[in-house]
């Protein structure tokens, strides 16, 4: 933010300096001074160095309903065709009333969401009141616009509760910020949207919403190779957030849902239906 520095007034050489009308300029939010080095030149959208070529391999989703907000995420991390982890935590607990989801570059998401957490805490201490979800997401957008074209890769959702209710925002590395009721981000998002859009209603009960979130993530992990692992589910309500499920294995879910459909799994599905 603008800093009016009195020490410039007394110095003789200020008169020779260009008379910048500092007092009347409206500075855009400036990115914090962090040295950001790119590996082998700017990140390319397709191809490029495999280590910096993030393809948003993930599925995360969030939706607003009458009991608050439900977030459901998968837990797979891949580096190209190599599976680096099946147990990643893609929901970042910013503070007791804000959650962020991770899609794209894990490092970028983790760092900037931690930075946001730090900023929220400092603001709370300095001003005696908590930052609203709108303000926190706006602040993050300000940072990402500052780093536009620098190769950051982030498609995250900020969800939280404040005095005006529960709100869900989508923020990405281009600096876009959208407020909405249903979002799904990542390579598996199209599959998740299919299930979500089919069954979403605002007046879902908590159990129905959790079931919907789990199902949507399962279907995404089933068809998208870059999504998998376990499903983690969080619920945001007026008193903060609760972790509903810490990790349901999608493989278990697959057999669970198959059983519900009456499939026995002996490999002869067609015969089952004929007789």
């Amino acid at each position: 933010m603008i800093d009016f520095d009195p020490s410039t007034f007394g110095l003789a050489h200020t008169y020779q300096k260009e008379d910048k009308d500092e007092i009347n300029t409206l500075a855009l939010p400036s990115a914090p001074q962090v040295i950001y080095k790119t590996l082998n030149g700017p990140t390319q959208i397709n191809g490029g160095n495999k280590l910096t070529n993030f393809k948003h391999g993930t599925t995360t989703l969030g939706f607003v309903f009458k009991e608050g907000i439900l977030l459901a995420v998968d837990s797979r991390a891949s580096m190209g065709s190599f599976l680096s982890s099946e147990q990643v935590r893609k929901v970042i607990e910013i503070n007791e009333y804000l959650l962020g989801t991770m899609a794209g570059g894990a490092a970028d998401c983790q760092y900037w969401l931690a930075y946001l957490a730090n900023h929220c805490r400092t603001y709370e201490l300095k001003n005696g009141s908590k930052l609203s979800v709108a303000a926190a997401s706006k602040f993050l957008q300000g940072i990402l616009i500052g780093y536009r074209n620098s190769g950051l890769s982030m498609g995250c959702m900020i969800a939280g509760t404040d005095t005006t209710g529960q709100h869900l925002y989508y923020i990405d590395n281009d600096g876009m910020r959208l407020k909405g009721d249903i979002f799904s981000v990542g390579s598996g998002s199209t599959y998740a949207y299919g299930v979500l859009d089919n069954h979403y209603r605002y007046d879902l009960s908590l159990n129905e919403a959790v079931e919907l979130g789990i199902r949507a993530i399962y279907h995404a992990t089933h068809r998208d190779t870059a999504s998998g692992g376990v499903v983690r589910v969080y619920h945001i309500h007026k008193d903060g957030w609760t972790k509903v499920h810490d990790g349901i294995d999608v493989v278990d879910l697959h057999y669970q849902f198959a059983k519900q459909k009456g499939l026995v799994g002996d490999g002869d599905e067609a015969k089952q239906r004929l007789f």
């Binding site: 933010m1 009016f4 009195p6 020490s7 007034f9 007092i23 001003n127 005696g128 706006k138 602040f139």
Partner: protein, 232 residues
């Protein structure tokens, strides 16, 4: 050795003389009053024309910082203008960063921070004004006072400048919690009229409500002073 010519030198008994002298400038400034009611805050200032040729109604001493945030002052006019412009800019800056309106606390702290900056660096003098900042936060009315030392405090009703003590005594006797807008307005006008030279052209009044600021024009002020004169 004189301890009062440089800002950055403490005197042996722990005073910053330049800051004290700045507060002296405030004490000699024209009177201003702020009164917090239940659903509105009233700011009133004394205006004085330096000569008969000056058009008093073009002197505006209550600065609007945001759509429901106003500031008035006692002390050096020019310093107030600069500080008000910086604070106005900060209000908009906050909106770009955070999308919400800044709270009155935040703006009052910012203003007092600006004033404090100039008490700690060489080459510049402190701002010669104390300000009254009024607005709504979380639907609650708030009135803050800042002074040249950078101190910031919240008040129910206060006054600055010449005859501040007299006005404060009056306010202490007559202010009560939960004043309606009309009553607060009458209280402010009465308080000011006691110390200001007679004539409605010498008072400027502003009512800050939850979502807007009402700057009373000449006729409204005249009407108000007539009503107040009849009251006792």
């Amino acid at each position: 050795m004189s301890y009062d010519t440089a800002l950055t030198v403490f005197s042996p008994d722990g005073q910053l003389f330049q800051v004290e002298y700045a507060m002296e400038a405030v004490k000699r400034g024209l009177c201003c009053v702020g009164v917090r009611g239940k659903d509105a805050i009233i700011l009133g200032v004394e205006k004085k024309a330096t000569s008969k040729l000056q058009d008093v109604k073009t002197i505006k001493k209550v600065y609007q910082l945001d759509h429901n945030l106003c500031m008035t002052f006692s002390g050096l006019n020019a310093d107030a203008r600069i500080l008000a412009n910086q604070t106005r800019l900060q209000c908009q800056q906050y909106k770009i960063y955070y999308e919400d309106d800044p709270s009155v606390d935040y703006i009052a702290k910012f203003t007092s921070q600006q004033q404090q900056k100039f008490t700690q660096r060489g080459g510049a003098r402190p701002y010669g004004i104390s300000t009254l900042i009024a607005g709504f936060s979380n639907n609650k009315p708030k009135l803050f006072q800042t002074d040249p030392s950078g101190a910031c405090s919240e008040w129910k009703a206060t006054s600055l400048g010449k005859s501040a003590k007299q006005v404060k005594d009056f306010l202490e006797k007559h202010w009560r919690e939960g004043l309606h807008e009309k009553d607060a307005l009458l209280l402010t006008t009465k308080a000011l009229m006691d110390v200001v030279e007679s004539g409605n052209k010498n008072i400027e009044l502003c009512v800050i409500r939850k979502n807007e600021c009402w700057f009373l024009n000449e006729n409204e002020v005249e009407e108000l002073t007539k009503i107040t004169a009849q009251l006792q």
